[in-house]
Symmetry: C2
């Protein structure tokens, strides 16, 4: 019998408790042992809740109970989750988390502490919600030099962009709708400015390189400037507009960024809609693979946490492989990466763009605007040129 | 230092040798130990080949060498691969295979022998080529009761169907082209009749249920009857025609089948084209997930074998979890499953179909045919009705 403590009885935490209960027998049959939730740590009481009797307010009860071998940290935020996780690991209790912020800030340190104490720090649920990605990267893709990762890693922005594309609605209206439906926070900044996706690509880039990529070093641009006409142009070109979190290897350098991209109809990420997420990776041997699923949601995310719990149960006193050292990776300048760009300008500046860019095609949607797709060029070269042109309406990268 | 023997220096086997060589350092960094190919078993000599010195013709050299801890079986076919694998496992040597035929025929028996001898029998490459699917099912999806699997599991047929859809070419011409390009065998039966996909869904259904699903019990239909007009209808409905390997849970019963299906534009399998494969699964907690990538090809398939080798290296003397017992699962009758059907009949029989089916819509492509999409009904009910109608031209299931 494996006894587990769940920290935080919120959305994900209650999902973990539910799955361990509802799917108890199938989990036991695959693990070869029963799992039981013994404690749930929360500041609140839950009178009348089925699991009322498991609620504790004092973390020491969990820490000092030698029966607890695995702790699920589903609290979110860096504090006190960081201290709680560290304390558990130092006692040899494995920790399974959905907390991307903590993983991004302290992942390699906590992995190291786990190793030194004969237990594991696992974080499948921290990126891509229910989508298996961390474990596949550490196992299935272990033979690969990963060349590139492109991820739709934020459900809120993908919901907003999908709605805007489908309904021709504008950003503000769709954001409001998303907030009413509970898909966006009241303060949506972390999602719409690309910070959430940025933390996640920092984690994936770290696994890709084996070193530590910091979110602070990831260039992030959000979706707030995308307007309804951008979608009309995109449709005309058979493309979708997606917030892409990207990490690339160019020579010996890695770059990482988050920004809106236009994605061609042939690309598997083109059809990833609504709250679904996907991670598209390119390995040097394997070629392209994609992992698709629900990037958030109570039970999907909780399922990923439970898969980690099962892994810990199967690997007592054994290190579950994850190469992520504390050594910091200095990212290369994203402005050196090359791509095509879609550009919209006021018709009056048409002459200027036509002179400056070797462009592949122009696209007409209105009389007052001129739009084109550039040839392949570095970000630096593009920014240089675009900043010297008057009356630029907007521009979006192509992938 | 881990020493490996590769059985069969063909496409996949030489890919395994190449990856272990080319990506030696990244693999060693993730495994924490070097891997080296010590022997390659093949009937042929390879004069001038870089690895000429590693070729052996006598399997006993490998079996009797205590340095060999892992054997990659990339020979294909049941014999002598079955005996070779069994002999290795009985000596405590783990076996990693790409051989779906052997896995389908003797998987659970070989897993059991491995367990009894402190080693592992792994087969990631046997389904979906380079796509991580076996390991994710055994680990990431361990908390789930899987309700349904839909897979595009055969690259040859998907290549043919994609070409037919894109170019309006007929089956015979595209098959010939695929043969010339090396994407289809001279005798294409195993692919085009759905047998290859059938073996693969038998393996996935076994992992889904934990028992043994036999290929012989999987209902299979191929793609040879799909004609160019079917694609015109499909296009008019915004659908794609794909050969789908499906396993479903209905109540306490499981069913499995392979057949062409029309897939809606919103479904992620709709855009899986060419030689790409994908497996779409529905879990009771996780919802829908999809794994996408190259379903065949030398290096993609070899990468999956190498991922198993790394797993064996990381788990010496430790069982890598896989729930697949020798107990046979009796499948339910696929004719009890429900779905919609697309039907084409000669215009003369229009009255008959209209009377027999509660149909949702009719689709016009030619003057001489009548086509419709039925409401949801059981396969049995549909077959009953369709067999009583004269001049049926063709019909295809909807997914």
């Amino acid at each position: 019998m494996i006894k587990v403590a769940v920290l935080g009885y919120g959305t994900v935490g209650s999902g973990v408790v539910q799955i361990l209960d509802d799917n108890n027998s199938v989990i036991a049959s695959r693990l070869g042992e029963d799992i039981e939730v013994k404690y749930i740590l929360d500041l609140r009481d839950f009178p009348g809740d089925k699991n009322e009797g498991k609620i504790v307010h004092d973390y020491n009860v969990i820490l000092e109970d030698p029966e607890i071998g695995i702790v699920c940290e589903t609290m979110g935020g860096v504090n006190p989750a960081y201290q709680f996780s560290k304390d558990a690991l130092l006692k040899g209790k494995s920790v399974c988390t959905s907390n991307k912020e903590l993983v991004e800030n302290h992942g390699p340190e906590l992995i190291k502490i786990a190793r030194e104490n004969g237990c594991n720090y696992l974080f499948e649920a921290s990126v891509g919600g229910g989508i298996p990605i961390i474990r596949p990267m550490n196992t299935s893709l272990a033979p690969e030099n990963i060349q590139k990762i492109m991820g739709i890693l934020n459900g809120t922005t993908n919901f907003i962009l999908t709605k805007m594309a489908g309904e021709g609605a504008n950003y503000d209206d769709v954001l409001k709708q998303a907030q009413e439906m509970g898909y966006a926070e009241r303060n949506p900044e972390a999602d719409v400015e690309g910070y959430d996706a940025g933390r996640k690509i920092a984690i994936l880039s770290s696994l890709m390189t084996g070193k530590t990529v910091k979110f602070a070093d990831v260039h992030t641009e959000g979706i707030t400037k995308i307007d309804t006409l951008d979608f009309e142009y995109a449709k005309k070109m058979g493309k979708a507009i997606k917030l892409i979190a990207m990490a690339e290897k160019n020579g010996d350098e890695y770059t990482a960024m988050v920004a809106p991209f236009m994605i061609g109809a042939d690309h598997p990420l083109n059809g990833v809609n609504g709250v679904f997420n996907a991670i598209y990776l390119t390995g040097d041997m394997l070629g392209d693979v994609m992992f698709y699923g629900q990037g958030a949601g109570k039970l999907a995310t909780a399922s990923a946490v439970v898969s980690d719990v099962i892994d810990c149960g199967r690997n007592k006193n054994k290190e579950i492989p994850c190469v992520w050292s504390e050594e910091k990776l200095t990212l290369g300048d994203y402005k050196k990466t090359e791509r095509q760009f879609f550009v919209r300008i006021d018709m009056r500046s048409r002459g200027q763009v036509v002179n400056k860019f070797s462009y592949l095609k122009s696209i007409e949607v209105t009389d007052t605007e001129f739009a084109l797709v550039t040839g392949k060029m570095t970000e630096a070269d593009f920014l240089d040129k675009i900043n010297s042109i008057d009356n630029v309406i907007s521009w979006i990268r192509l992938a």
